[in-house]
Symmetry: C2
Subunit: 235 residues, 2 copies
Protein backbone atom coordinates (compact mmCIF):
# COMPACT_ATOMS: atom_id res chain seq x y z
CA UNK A 1 0.00 0.00 0.00
CA UNK A 2 2.91 2.33 -0.66
CA UNK A 3 2.34 5.69 -2.30
CA UNK A 4 5.44 7.85 -2.80
CA UNK A 5 6.90 10.53 -5.01
CA UNK A 6 10.69 10.46 -4.86
CA UNK A 7 11.98 13.54 -6.68
CA UNK A 8 15.56 14.37 -7.61
CA UNK A 9 15.16 18.03 -6.70
CA UNK A 10 12.61 20.49 -5.30
CA UNK A 11 13.43 23.17 -7.81
CA UNK A 12 14.47 23.18 -11.44
CA UNK A 13 16.52 26.01 -12.86
CA UNK A 14 14.51 29.13 -13.65
CA UNK A 15 11.31 28.16 -11.82
CA UNK A 16 9.93 28.54 -8.30
CA UNK A 17 10.24 26.11 -5.42
CA UNK A 18 8.31 22.88 -6.27
CA UNK A 19 6.70 24.62 -9.26
CA UNK A 20 7.49 21.93 -11.84
CA UNK A 21 5.80 19.32 -9.61
CA UNK A 22 2.68 21.22 -8.50
CA UNK A 23 0.27 19.68 -11.04
CA UNK A 24 1.46 16.22 -10.06
CA UNK A 25 1.23 17.11 -6.36
CA UNK A 26 -2.31 18.41 -6.54
CA UNK A 27 -3.34 14.96 -7.79
CA UNK A 28 -1.03 13.11 -5.39
CA UNK A 29 -2.34 15.00 -2.34
CA UNK A 30 -5.92 15.17 -3.66
CA UNK A 31 -7.44 13.53 -0.59
CA UNK A 32 -5.62 15.56 2.07
CA UNK A 33 -5.87 19.20 3.16
CA UNK A 34 -2.91 19.15 5.47
CA UNK A 35 0.66 17.88 5.01
CA UNK A 36 3.19 17.16 7.74
CA UNK A 37 6.49 18.76 6.70
CA UNK A 38 9.84 17.55 8.08
CA UNK A 39 12.32 20.43 7.71
CA UNK A 40 15.28 18.66 9.34
CA UNK A 41 17.61 18.80 6.30
CA UNK A 42 17.91 22.61 6.71
CA UNK A 43 19.36 23.73 3.32
CA UNK A 44 21.96 26.49 3.85
CA UNK A 45 21.31 26.09 7.59
CA UNK A 46 17.83 27.68 7.33
CA UNK A 47 15.73 27.40 10.52
CA UNK A 48 12.89 24.87 10.80
CA UNK A 49 10.41 27.76 10.92
CA UNK A 50 11.74 29.55 7.86
CA UNK A 51 11.92 26.33 5.88
CA UNK A 52 8.34 25.43 6.80
CA UNK A 53 7.14 28.90 5.77
CA UNK A 54 8.80 28.52 2.38
CA UNK A 55 7.12 25.16 1.87
CA UNK A 56 3.75 26.52 3.03
CA UNK A 57 4.04 29.29 0.44
CA UNK A 58 4.48 26.74 -2.37
CA UNK A 59 1.66 24.48 -1.17
CA UNK A 60 -0.78 27.38 -0.85
CA UNK A 61 -0.82 27.40 -4.64
CA UNK A 62 -2.59 24.05 -4.54
CA UNK A 63 -4.60 24.92 -1.40
CA UNK A 64 -2.80 22.70 1.05
CA UNK A 65 -1.88 23.57 4.62
CA UNK A 66 1.55 22.58 5.90
CA UNK A 67 2.66 22.07 9.49
CA UNK A 68 6.29 21.60 10.52
CA UNK A 69 7.06 18.55 12.67
CA UNK A 70 9.05 20.80 15.04
CA UNK A 71 5.76 22.47 16.03
CA UNK A 72 4.53 19.21 17.60
CA UNK A 73 5.39 18.25 21.13
CA UNK A 74 5.72 14.60 20.12
CA UNK A 75 7.29 14.08 16.69
CA UNK A 76 6.56 10.33 16.66
CA UNK A 77 2.87 11.05 17.18
CA UNK A 78 3.01 13.70 14.47
CA UNK A 79 4.21 11.07 12.00
CA UNK A 80 1.83 8.37 13.21
CA UNK A 81 -1.17 10.65 12.85
CA UNK A 82 -0.14 12.39 9.64
CA UNK A 83 -2.40 12.05 6.58
CA UNK A 84 0.51 13.01 4.26
CA UNK A 85 4.24 13.61 4.73
CA UNK A 86 6.79 15.74 2.89
CA UNK A 87 10.53 15.66 3.63
CA UNK A 88 12.43 18.40 1.81
CA UNK A 89 16.02 18.73 0.68
CA UNK A 90 19.12 20.12 2.34
CA UNK A 91 21.85 18.08 3.99
CA UNK A 92 21.19 14.33 4.07
CA UNK A 93 23.47 13.71 7.07
CA UNK A 94 21.75 16.41 9.13
CA UNK A 95 18.36 15.03 8.12
CA UNK A 96 19.11 11.39 8.88
CA UNK A 97 20.82 12.27 12.15
CA UNK A 98 17.76 14.16 13.36
CA UNK A 99 15.44 11.32 12.31
CA UNK A 100 17.52 8.91 14.41
CA UNK A 101 17.69 11.36 17.29
CA UNK A 102 13.92 11.71 17.37
CA UNK A 103 13.41 7.96 16.85
CA UNK A 104 11.45 8.55 13.67
CA UNK A 105 12.94 5.88 11.39
CA UNK A 106 10.55 3.07 12.30
CA UNK A 107 7.43 5.29 12.57
CA UNK A 108 8.16 6.76 9.12
CA UNK A 109 8.67 3.33 7.56
CA UNK A 110 5.45 2.08 9.10
CA UNK A 111 3.45 5.15 8.05
CA UNK A 112 4.59 4.89 4.44
CA UNK A 113 4.10 1.13 4.33
CA UNK A 114 0.57 1.66 5.62
CA UNK A 115 -0.18 4.00 2.73
CA UNK A 116 0.44 7.53 4.04
CA UNK A 117 1.39 9.51 0.89
CA UNK A 118 5.05 10.53 1.08
CA UNK A 119 6.82 13.18 -0.98
CA UNK A 120 10.60 13.42 -0.85
CA UNK A 121 12.87 15.84 -2.69
CA UNK A 122 16.67 15.63 -2.81
CA UNK A 123 17.79 14.67 0.75
CA UNK A 124 14.19 13.63 1.45
CA UNK A 125 14.50 11.25 -1.53
CA UNK A 126 17.94 10.00 -0.65
CA UNK A 127 16.63 8.59 2.64
CA UNK A 128 14.01 6.54 0.76
CA UNK A 129 16.84 4.32 -0.49
CA UNK A 130 18.51 1.51 1.45
CA UNK A 131 21.35 3.72 2.72
CA UNK A 132 22.65 7.26 2.31
CA UNK A 133 25.98 5.96 0.97
CA UNK A 134 25.24 7.61 -2.40
CA UNK A 135 24.36 11.11 -1.24
CA UNK A 136 26.24 14.04 -2.81
CA UNK A 137 26.16 16.01 0.41
CA UNK A 138 29.01 17.07 2.62
CA UNK A 139 29.17 14.90 5.78
CA UNK A 140 28.86 17.84 8.17
CA UNK A 141 27.38 15.67 10.94
CA UNK A 142 28.15 12.06 11.95
CA UNK A 143 24.85 10.16 12.09
CA UNK A 144 24.52 6.96 14.16
CA UNK A 145 24.20 4.96 10.93
CA UNK A 146 24.04 5.44 7.16
CA UNK A 147 21.05 3.06 7.02
CA UNK A 148 18.00 4.84 5.66
CA UNK A 149 14.27 4.10 5.32
CA UNK A 150 14.63 1.42 2.64
CA UNK A 151 11.27 2.24 1.05
CA UNK A 152 12.71 1.16 -2.31
CA UNK A 153 15.13 -1.78 -2.71
CA UNK A 154 18.03 0.27 -4.09
CA UNK A 155 20.00 3.46 -3.44
CA UNK A 156 19.20 6.86 -4.88
CA UNK A 157 21.57 9.44 -6.25
CA UNK A 158 19.58 12.65 -6.67
CA UNK A 159 20.79 15.63 -8.73
CA UNK A 160 22.53 13.11 -10.97
CA UNK A 161 25.15 14.84 -13.09
CA UNK A 162 26.73 13.60 -16.29
CA UNK A 163 30.50 14.04 -16.67
CA UNK A 164 31.30 17.56 -17.91
CA UNK A 165 33.22 17.32 -21.22
CA UNK A 166 36.72 18.83 -21.12
CA UNK A 167 36.46 19.53 -17.40
CA UNK A 168 39.86 20.55 -15.97
CA UNK A 169 38.90 19.93 -12.35
CA UNK A 170 40.40 16.69 -11.03
CA UNK A 171 37.57 15.78 -8.61
CA UNK A 172 35.80 12.49 -9.39
CA UNK A 173 32.78 12.39 -11.72
CA UNK A 174 29.51 11.14 -10.29
CA UNK A 175 29.85 7.94 -12.29
CA UNK A 176 33.31 7.29 -10.82
CA UNK A 177 31.96 7.86 -7.31
CA UNK A 178 29.15 5.36 -7.82
CA UNK A 179 31.63 2.91 -9.31
CA UNK A 180 33.69 3.28 -6.10
CA UNK A 181 30.50 2.69 -4.08
CA UNK A 182 30.13 -0.65 -5.86
CA UNK A 183 33.58 -1.73 -4.71
CA UNK A 184 32.07 -1.97 -1.23
CA UNK A 185 28.31 -2.37 -1.75
CA UNK A 186 26.15 -4.46 -4.06
CA UNK A 187 22.72 -2.77 -4.21
CA UNK A 188 21.72 -0.93 -7.42
CA UNK A 189 21.83 2.87 -7.58
CA UNK A 190 19.52 5.04 -9.64
CA UNK A 191 20.95 8.36 -10.80
CA UNK A 192 17.93 10.69 -10.96
CA UNK A 193 18.55 13.81 -13.05
CA UNK A 194 17.03 17.12 -11.99
CA UNK A 195 13.42 17.24 -13.14
CA UNK A 196 12.99 13.45 -12.80
CA UNK A 197 11.03 11.63 -10.14
CA UNK A 198 9.85 8.15 -9.22
CA UNK A 199 6.23 7.25 -8.55
CA UNK A 200 6.08 4.31 -6.15
CA UNK A 201 2.65 2.69 -5.89
CA UNK A 202 2.48 -0.64 -4.08
CA UNK A 203 4.91 -2.83 -6.05
CA UNK A 204 5.29 -0.51 -9.01
CA UNK A 205 8.12 2.03 -9.39
CA UNK A 206 7.84 4.25 -12.46
CA UNK A 207 10.28 6.90 -13.71
CA UNK A 208 8.65 10.25 -14.49
CA UNK A 209 9.75 13.57 -15.97
CA UNK A 210 11.28 14.44 -19.34
CA UNK A 211 14.71 12.87 -18.88
CA UNK A 212 16.08 9.37 -18.76
CA UNK A 213 17.72 8.05 -15.58
CA UNK A 214 21.02 6.20 -15.22
CA UNK A 215 21.10 2.80 -13.55
CA UNK A 216 24.20 1.43 -11.87
CA UNK A 217 24.18 -2.23 -10.98
CA UNK A 218 26.94 -4.15 -9.26
CA UNK A 219 29.43 -5.55 -11.76
CA UNK A 220 27.46 -4.28 -14.78
CA UNK A 221 27.96 -1.47 -17.27
CA UNK A 222 25.71 1.48 -16.31
CA UNK A 223 22.75 2.07 -18.63
CA UNK A 224 19.95 4.55 -19.31
CA UNK A 225 16.25 3.95 -18.74
CA UNK A 226 13.65 6.11 -20.45
CA UNK A 227 10.90 7.99 -18.68
CA UNK A 228 7.78 5.89 -17.94
CA UNK A 229 9.94 2.77 -17.45
CA UNK A 230 8.72 0.34 -14.80
CA UNK A 231 11.62 -0.22 -12.40
CA UNK A 232 10.21 -2.80 -10.00
CA UNK A 233 12.70 -5.44 -11.10
CA UNK A 234 15.59 -3.28 -9.89
CA UNK A 235 16.86 -4.79 -6.65
CA UNK B 1 58.96 18.72 15.07
CA UNK B 2 56.26 18.40 12.45
CA UNK B 3 57.15 18.28 8.76
CA UNK B 4 54.25 17.91 6.34
CA UNK B 5 53.14 18.69 2.83
CA UNK B 6 49.36 18.81 2.60
CA UNK B 7 48.40 19.05 -1.07
CA UNK B 8 44.98 19.70 -2.56
CA UNK B 9 45.51 17.17 -5.34
CA UNK B 10 48.04 14.65 -6.64
CA UNK B 11 47.61 15.69 -10.24
CA UNK B 12 46.90 18.94 -12.00
CA UNK B 13 45.14 19.02 -15.35
CA UNK B 14 47.39 18.17 -18.29
CA UNK B 15 50.33 16.82 -16.29
CA UNK B 16 51.41 13.44 -14.90
CA UNK B 17 50.72 12.03 -11.46
CA UNK B 18 52.53 14.17 -8.80
CA UNK B 19 54.50 15.92 -11.58
CA UNK B 20 53.80 19.50 -10.44
CA UNK B 21 55.13 18.64 -6.97
CA UNK B 22 58.24 16.61 -7.85
CA UNK B 23 60.77 19.44 -7.44
CA UNK B 24 59.32 20.23 -4.04
CA UNK B 25 59.26 16.53 -3.11
CA UNK B 26 62.88 15.90 -4.03
CA UNK B 27 63.81 18.54 -1.45
CA UNK B 28 61.21 17.39 1.07
CA UNK B 29 62.33 13.76 0.92
CA UNK B 30 66.01 14.65 0.50
CA UNK B 31 67.16 12.60 3.51
CA UNK B 32 65.24 9.42 2.73
CA UNK B 33 65.55 6.76 0.02
CA UNK B 34 62.42 4.90 0.86
CA UNK B 35 58.84 6.07 1.45
CA UNK B 36 56.02 4.13 3.10
CA UNK B 37 52.94 4.50 0.91
CA UNK B 38 49.43 4.03 2.30
CA UNK B 39 47.13 3.14 -0.64
CA UNK B 40 43.96 2.69 1.42
CA UNK B 41 41.92 5.44 -0.31
CA UNK B 42 41.78 3.34 -3.52
CA UNK B 43 40.73 5.89 -6.19
CA UNK B 44 38.24 4.30 -8.63
CA UNK B 45 38.53 1.15 -6.51
CA UNK B 46 42.10 0.46 -7.72
CA UNK B 47 43.88 -2.36 -5.82
CA UNK B 48 46.54 -1.62 -3.21
CA UNK B 49 49.16 -3.18 -5.47
CA UNK B 50 48.20 -1.22 -8.59
CA UNK B 51 48.02 2.03 -6.65
CA UNK B 52 51.44 1.42 -5.11
CA UNK B 53 52.93 0.68 -8.54
CA UNK B 54 51.57 3.93 -9.91
CA UNK B 55 53.10 5.85 -7.01
CA UNK B 56 56.41 4.02 -7.39
CA UNK B 57 56.52 5.05 -11.05
CA UNK B 58 56.21 8.72 -10.11
CA UNK B 59 58.77 8.56 -7.30
CA UNK B 60 61.33 6.78 -9.51
CA UNK B 61 61.70 10.15 -11.27
CA UNK B 62 63.29 11.51 -8.08
CA UNK B 63 65.02 8.22 -7.23
CA UNK B 64 62.88 7.16 -4.30
CA UNK B 65 61.71 3.66 -3.52
CA UNK B 66 58.13 3.16 -2.40
CA UNK B 67 56.68 0.28 -0.39
CA UNK B 68 52.95 -0.19 0.17
CA UNK B 69 51.81 -0.65 3.78
CA UNK B 70 49.77 -3.69 2.69
CA UNK B 71 53.04 -5.51 1.96
CA UNK B 72 53.93 -5.46 5.66
CA UNK B 73 52.68 -8.08 8.05
CA UNK B 74 52.26 -5.50 10.79
CA UNK B 75 50.99 -2.14 9.54
CA UNK B 76 51.49 -0.42 12.92
CA UNK B 77 55.15 -1.41 12.86
CA UNK B 78 55.42 -0.22 9.27
CA UNK B 79 54.31 3.25 10.36
CA UNK B 80 56.41 3.30 13.51
CA UNK B 81 59.56 2.39 11.61
CA UNK B 82 58.93 4.48 8.50
CA UNK B 83 61.38 7.22 7.61
CA UNK B 84 58.79 8.98 5.44
CA UNK B 85 55.07 8.50 4.78
CA UNK B 86 52.82 9.29 1.83
CA UNK B 87 49.03 8.88 1.89
CA UNK B 88 47.46 9.33 -1.53
CA UNK B 89 43.99 10.38 -2.67
CA UNK B 90 40.85 8.42 -3.40
CA UNK B 91 37.88 8.06 -1.11
CA UNK B 92 38.32 9.69 2.31
CA UNK B 93 35.75 7.44 4.02
CA UNK B 94 37.41 4.28 2.72
CA UNK B 95 40.81 5.62 3.79
CA UNK B 96 39.79 6.68 7.30
CA UNK B 97 37.84 3.48 7.84
CA UNK B 98 40.88 1.36 7.00
CA UNK B 99 43.13 3.47 9.25
CA UNK B 100 40.74 2.86 12.15
CA UNK B 101 40.42 -0.83 11.28
CA UNK B 102 44.20 -1.28 11.35
CA UNK B 103 44.54 0.90 14.48
CA UNK B 104 46.81 3.32 12.69
CA UNK B 105 45.38 6.65 13.87
CA UNK B 106 47.53 7.03 16.99
CA UNK B 107 50.72 5.58 15.43
CA UNK B 108 50.38 8.00 12.48
CA UNK B 109 49.84 10.99 14.76
CA UNK B 110 52.83 10.03 16.87
CA UNK B 111 55.10 9.43 13.87
CA UNK B 112 54.27 12.80 12.34
CA UNK B 113 54.55 14.61 15.66
CA UNK B 114 57.97 13.04 16.10
CA UNK B 115 59.12 14.46 12.77
CA UNK B 116 58.56 11.71 10.18
CA UNK B 117 58.03 13.63 6.91
CA UNK B 118 54.43 13.21 5.75
CA UNK B 119 53.01 13.89 2.33
CA UNK B 120 49.25 13.90 1.83
CA UNK B 121 47.29 14.51 -1.36
CA UNK B 122 43.52 14.91 -1.58
CA UNK B 123 42.02 12.29 0.80
CA UNK B 124 45.49 11.96 2.38
CA UNK B 125 45.31 15.69 3.09
CA UNK B 126 41.74 15.68 4.29
CA UNK B 127 42.66 13.36 7.15
CA UNK B 128 45.34 15.82 8.35
CA UNK B 129 42.53 18.11 9.48
CA UNK B 130 40.52 17.79 12.69
CA UNK B 131 37.72 15.81 11.07
CA UNK B 132 36.64 14.60 7.63
CA UNK B 133 33.38 16.57 7.87
CA UNK B 134 34.50 18.75 4.94
CA UNK B 135 35.47 16.06 2.44
CA UNK B 136 33.91 16.19 -1.03
CA UNK B 137 33.80 12.42 -1.29
CA UNK B 138 30.83 10.12 -1.48
CA UNK B 139 30.26 8.35 1.87
CA UNK B 140 30.50 4.86 0.38
CA UNK B 141 31.60 3.33 3.70
CA UNK B 142 30.57 4.14 7.30
CA UNK B 143 33.73 4.72 9.33
CA UNK B 144 33.70 4.35 13.14
CA UNK B 145 34.18 8.11 13.47
CA UNK B 146 34.72 11.22 11.33
CA UNK B 147 37.58 12.28 13.63
CA UNK B 148 40.83 12.50 11.72
CA UNK B 149 44.52 12.94 12.56
CA UNK B 150 44.27 16.58 13.69
CA UNK B 151 47.80 17.41 12.52
CA UNK B 152 46.61 20.95 11.82
CA UNK B 153 44.07 22.80 14.01
CA UNK B 154 41.44 23.24 11.30
CA UNK B 155 39.60 21.30 8.61
CA UNK B 156 40.70 20.96 5.02
CA UNK B 157 38.60 21.09 1.88
CA UNK B 158 40.80 19.87 -0.98
CA UNK B 159 39.95 20.38 -4.68
CA UNK B 160 38.29 23.63 -3.60
CA UNK B 161 35.95 24.84 -6.36
CA UNK B 162 34.62 28.34 -6.86
CA UNK B 163 30.94 28.68 -7.73
CA UNK B 164 30.44 28.18 -11.49
CA UNK B 165 28.83 31.32 -12.98
CA UNK B 166 25.40 30.74 -14.59
CA UNK B 167 25.35 27.11 -13.48
CA UNK B 168 21.92 25.57 -14.05
CA UNK B 169 22.50 22.59 -11.76
CA UNK B 170 20.72 23.02 -8.42
CA UNK B 171 23.24 21.15 -6.24
CA UNK B 172 24.90 23.26 -3.53
CA UNK B 173 28.10 25.20 -4.24
CA UNK B 174 31.17 24.32 -2.19
CA UNK B 175 30.83 27.60 -0.29
CA UNK B 176 27.21 26.78 0.64
CA UNK B 177 28.27 23.35 1.86
CA UNK B 178 30.98 24.79 4.10
CA UNK B 179 28.51 27.39 5.36
CA UNK B 180 26.20 24.50 6.32
CA UNK B 181 29.16 22.80 8.06
CA UNK B 182 29.50 25.89 10.22
CA UNK B 183 25.90 25.56 11.39
CA UNK B 184 27.09 22.50 13.34
CA UNK B 185 30.86 22.94 13.80
CA UNK B 186 33.11 25.84 14.77
CA UNK B 187 36.61 25.00 13.51
CA UNK B 188 37.98 26.94 10.51
CA UNK B 189 38.11 25.35 7.06
CA UNK B 190 40.71 26.04 4.42
CA UNK B 191 39.57 25.60 0.83
CA UNK B 192 42.73 24.50 -1.05
CA UNK B 193 42.45 24.94 -4.81
CA UNK B 194 44.07 22.38 -7.12
CA UNK B 195 47.77 23.14 -7.43
CA UNK B 196 47.96 24.57 -3.87
CA UNK B 197 49.56 22.94 -0.88
CA UNK B 198 50.46 23.68 2.73
CA UNK B 199 53.95 23.31 4.16
CA UNK B 200 53.72 22.53 7.88
CA UNK B 201 57.00 22.86 9.75
CA UNK B 202 56.81 22.80 13.52
CA UNK B 203 54.45 25.67 14.34
CA UNK B 204 54.49 27.24 10.91
CA UNK B 205 51.85 26.56 8.23
CA UNK B 206 52.54 28.25 4.88
CA UNK B 207 50.38 28.27 1.74
CA UNK B 208 52.27 27.31 -1.44
CA UNK B 209 51.46 27.15 -5.14
CA UNK B 210 50.31 29.80 -7.60
CA UNK B 211 46.77 30.30 -6.30
CA UNK B 212 45.19 31.91 -3.28
CA UNK B 213 43.21 29.79 -0.79
CA UNK B 214 39.79 30.52 0.70
CA UNK B 215 39.38 30.61 4.47
CA UNK B 216 36.07 29.92 6.17
CA UNK B 217 35.82 30.82 9.83
CA UNK B 218 32.80 30.33 12.05
CA UNK B 219 30.47 33.33 11.93
CA UNK B 220 32.77 35.32 9.61
CA UNK B 221 32.66 36.24 5.94
CA UNK B 222 34.96 33.92 3.95
CA UNK B 223 38.15 35.54 2.64
CA UNK B 224 41.14 34.83 0.40
CA UNK B 225 44.74 34.40 1.52
CA UNK B 226 47.59 34.77 -0.95
CA UNK B 227 50.27 32.18 -1.54
CA UNK B 228 53.20 32.33 0.94
CA UNK B 229 50.83 33.46 3.72
CA UNK B 230 51.67 32.16 7.20
CA UNK B 231 48.53 30.47 8.53
CA UNK B 232 49.58 29.47 12.04
CA UNK B 233 47.04 31.79 13.65
CA UNK B 234 44.18 29.89 12.03
CA UNK B 235 42.54 27.78 14.73
Amino acid sequence: MKNLIIASTSTIHGSDYLEYLLDELSVFFKLVDYILFIPYARPSGISHDDYTNKVQEAFLKINKTVKGIHEFENPVEAVTQAKAIFIGGGNTFVLLNQLYKNQLIEPLKKAVQNGTPYLGTSAGSNICGLTINTTNDMPIIYPPSFKALGLVPFNINPHYLDPIPNNKHMGETRETRIKEFHEFNTQPVIGLREGSWLIVKDDSIILKGRLSARIFEYNKTPFEVETETELNTLK
